[in-house]
């Protein structure tokens, strides 16, 4: 009896050994990213890459968007061997490179990789002249508007050339307390309220002087006081996300990143949102050219501990290049690669608003970086965000808050 059992076990083991080679057909590339199941461009990119690279499967490691930087950093510090890490903010990469987690790409690029399509944005991912990541999305901020609400109020649609003053007037005109309609909506982020100071001016948020932000804080508080937008305190307490707020259909305008386009297209398709919308360029300061905006890069790097570096390079070079850009553009997101084909693909996305203004808004006149790469930028961000929350919660006046920002940031560099 015992002998039969051991013979049976040996035979089973042999069979399992034979089965293994058959399963090892597909190569798997693990990619760490955020909101993998709900982000349209991630789904489109995976399908397109797997279609053009038979025998390779992309496996997304999904991390919650809010905690992405912290979680991904902790994974890398723990020795994670996932092949590719996507980069949410530029200083993610700067930190990871300093910690030794990013694989340098110089050798791969030297074998013949065309960086010209990135129109210089790729330098944000280079440290001491060595490239460490490839960008695949370049976002900038635009103004979303609810066409149906404008038509119902009989007000002219926003244009690609509005000043902030004109925008504020428009917001107040469209606010209707009885119908619970808000003229505009500000997400709680610093970027939604005051990053406009960097558009087309050469000013950056690491310049250690924050008086340029006064105009925007005053503008915001005037709008909040007149009821044209929801209050910061309520938004903070309820955690209402801008994507849900705007899709609800009672907000006329929303300054937000271009990435929201692909979300809205998805909402239109699945019925979450059932109104007509469009985009225009964000309003500009009086002395700044129309179409000036700020933005951010999204890219991907190869993990220094990856065991599939060559395949990972294949993936990230494809992702950022013209082929990946088409996949990204096909769902309404804005790729980092700039070319006629890509512009065509972006404008012809099913669900993208068909009016001329929205099409024109696709080409900003200038895009400044949301935050620059600078010394102690992490500490500066913390200080500016802390004072921002004090100003927005009306705990201090904008002048006092900005004074604190100036003082505390100056102390960092003493």
């Amino acid at each position: 009896m015992k002998k039969m059992l051991s013979v049976l076990l040996a035979v089973m083991m042999l069979i399992s050994l034979l089965a293994v080679p058959a399963l090892a057909d597909d190569q798997v590339l693990t990619v760490v990213t955020w909101d993998a199941t709900t982000t349209p461009y991630l789904i489109a990119q995976k399908e397109a890459f797997e279609a053009s690279h038979p025998g390779v499967k992309i496996e997304y490691v999904d991390v919650a968007s809010q905690d992405y930087a912290v979680k991904a950093t902790t994974m890398l510090e723990g020795g994670d061997t996932s092949d590719v890490f996507m980069i949410k903010e530029i200083d993610n990469l700067i930190n990871w490179q300093a910690q030794g987690f990013a694989a340098p790409l110089a050798d791969y690029i030297a074998k013949g990789y065309d960086l010209s399509g990135f129109v210089g944005t790729e330098v944000n991912y280079a440290v001491d002249g060595v490239q460490y990541a490839i960008p695949f999305r370049s976002d900038f901020w635009v103004l979303f508007y609810n066409k149906d609400l404008f038509d119902a109020a009989g007000v002219d649609l926003p244009t690609n050339d509005m000043t902030w003053g004109q925008y504020a007037e428009l917001a107040k005109k469209l606010t209707d307390k009885e119908k619970d309609v808000y003229g505009t909506h500000y997400h709680t982020w610093l970027s939604a309220v005051v990053n406009w100071a960097v558009c087309g001016t050469g000013y950056t948020l690491a310049d250690k002087k924050y008086d340029n932000l006064l105009y925007y804080y005053t503008l915001y508080q005037d709008l909040e006081d007149s009821g044209a937008c929801m209050s910061y305190a309520d938004l903070k307490a309820s955690g209402l996300h801008y994507s849900a707020a705007f899709a609800n259909g009672n907000i006329a305008m929303l300054p937000m990143g271009y990435w929201y386009v692909s979300t809205l297209i998805g909402y239109n398709k699945d019925g979450t949102c059932n109104f007509n919308w469009g985009i225009t360029a964000v309003p500009h300061a009086d002395d700044v050219a129309a179409g000036s905006s700020f933005g951010n890069l999204t890219g991907a790097m190869i993990n220094a501990k990856s065991e599939n570096k060559d395949l990972a390079w294949e993936y990230i070079s494809w992702l950022g290049g013209p082929e990946g850009a088409k996949a990204t553009a096909s769902v309404g997101a804005r790729p980092a690669w700039v070319s006629e084909d890509v512009a065509e693909a972006m404008a012809s996305v099913d669900g993208f608003p068909a009016d001329a203004n929205s099409k024109a808004a696709l080409i900003p006149s200038s895009v400044a970086m949301e935050w620059p790469v600078a010394e102690k930028v992490s500490d500066i961000k913390t200080i500016v965000n802390e004072e921002h929350s004090m100003i927005m919660a009306r705990e201090v006046t904008p002048e006092e808050g900005i004074g604190e920002m100036n003082e505390r940031v100056a102390e960092l560099f003493e």
């Binding site: 912290v70 950093t73 902790t74 910690q99 030794g100 305190a233 307490a237 802390e386 927005m392 705990e395």
Partner: protein, 318 residues
């Protein structure tokens, strides 16, 4: 017995003793090994790391900086220039310390009073079991769910503010957006959550008070209040001691309520020691400084616990 026989017996006894000792150690081993790996070794590493600068990457990038990290977090240069006021009003560590101590000093007595009051009320009434379950329920609920619900309740125009306005007090600001009230929202949620747990401890202690003592007090003519003051409370001293030690330690370590409800804000009004450590370690990736702050936290909690234990003699029932 002969010498040889005595020796043999002693050897066998020694062997038995050694065997017993070995068995004892082998029972202790799993717990101690777990403690050593997951607590003792990391604490020793943190003590060492507080003297280094490290960005979390390669171990070879560790840079010895001596007491520089402590000098930075205590802002020694600025304090020497501008005095202690600078430390408590502008330095991150000073503000975090101030907030954490304030939170602890308010929460501990408040929770003890509420827990004791509930225990006394629910000791011998009808439907006691039902009410005890109701009050214990917050303790077993998800912290995230509790914090989200309370965030809504404490909004401007929310039910809590409406109640306050109805009582005639003119206050209608979102609690978590007000730098004075934000810490009270944390205190409120913590007390509400924890009083059920400590109520159960007090209930057990109350039921352990010998009936003869209460009867003797009644016979001697003591009123209910005098009975409570002079019989019940002294009998509860060991429990109160235990509860206060546990509460002080857990209050100094507060993190989850703050992270979910206010995220340290507005500004730095609810910046606590542990949220400060988290920011330094995981957002700014400065493990040396974060370890230095952890050491400060360790020393404070250790000091407070030692003080409490040394005054325990007053609390024992002998």
């Amino acid at each position: 017995m002969s010498q040889a026989e005595v020796k043999r017996v002693r050897y066998k006894m020694g062997k038995l003793e050694r065997k017993n000792t070995l068995v004892a150690y082998s029972f202790l081993a799993p717990n101690f090994i777990g403690f050593a790996i997951f607590t003792l070794v990391p604490v020793i590493c943190a003590i060492a790391l507080s003297l280094f600068e490290w960005n979390g990457g390669d171990i070879s990038k560790l840079k010895f900086v001596g007491l520089d990290n402590y000098a930075t977090i205590f802002a020694t240069k600025k304090v020497a220039e501008k005095g202690l006021g600078y430390f408590f009003n502008r330095a991150d560590l000073g503000i975090a310390l101030k907030n954490t101590v304030f939170y602890t000093v308010i929460t501990v007595p408040l929770t003890i009073i509420c827990a004791l009051a509930l225990a006394l009320l629910l000791n011998k009434i009808k439907g006691a079991v039902f009410f005890r379950t109701v009050f214990f329920f917050p303790y077993v609920s998800s912290m995230v769910a509790i914090c989200v619900c309370w965030s809504f309740m404490l909004m401007k125009d929310g039910p809590v503010n409406q109640l306050i306005m109805a009582l005639g007090i003119n206050f209608n600001k979102g609690w978590t957006a007000d730098s004075t009230m934000a810490i009270w929202s944390i205190i409120l949620v913590s007390v509400w959550r924890n009083m059920g747990y400590y109520m159960v401890l007090y209930l057990a202690a109350l039921q352990g008070i010998p009936r003869e003592l209460m009867e003797a007090a009644t016979v001697d003519g003591a009123s209910k209040w005098q009975q409570f003051l002079h019989v019940t409370l002294p009998q509860l001293k060991p429990t109160t001691f235990f509860v206060s030690v546990m509460m002080v330690i857990s209050c100094f370590k507060i993190y989850d309520v703050v992270a979910i409800m206010t995220d340290g804000g507005p500004g730095r009004a609810t910046k606590m020691l542990v949220t400060y450590i988290y920011d330094e370690a995981f957002i700014k990736v400065r493990y040396g400084q974060a370890s230095a702050i952890s050491m400060v936290l360790l020393v404070i909690v250790l000091a407070v616990t030692i003080i409490q234990f040394s005054s325990e003699k007053k609390f024992s029932n002998d």
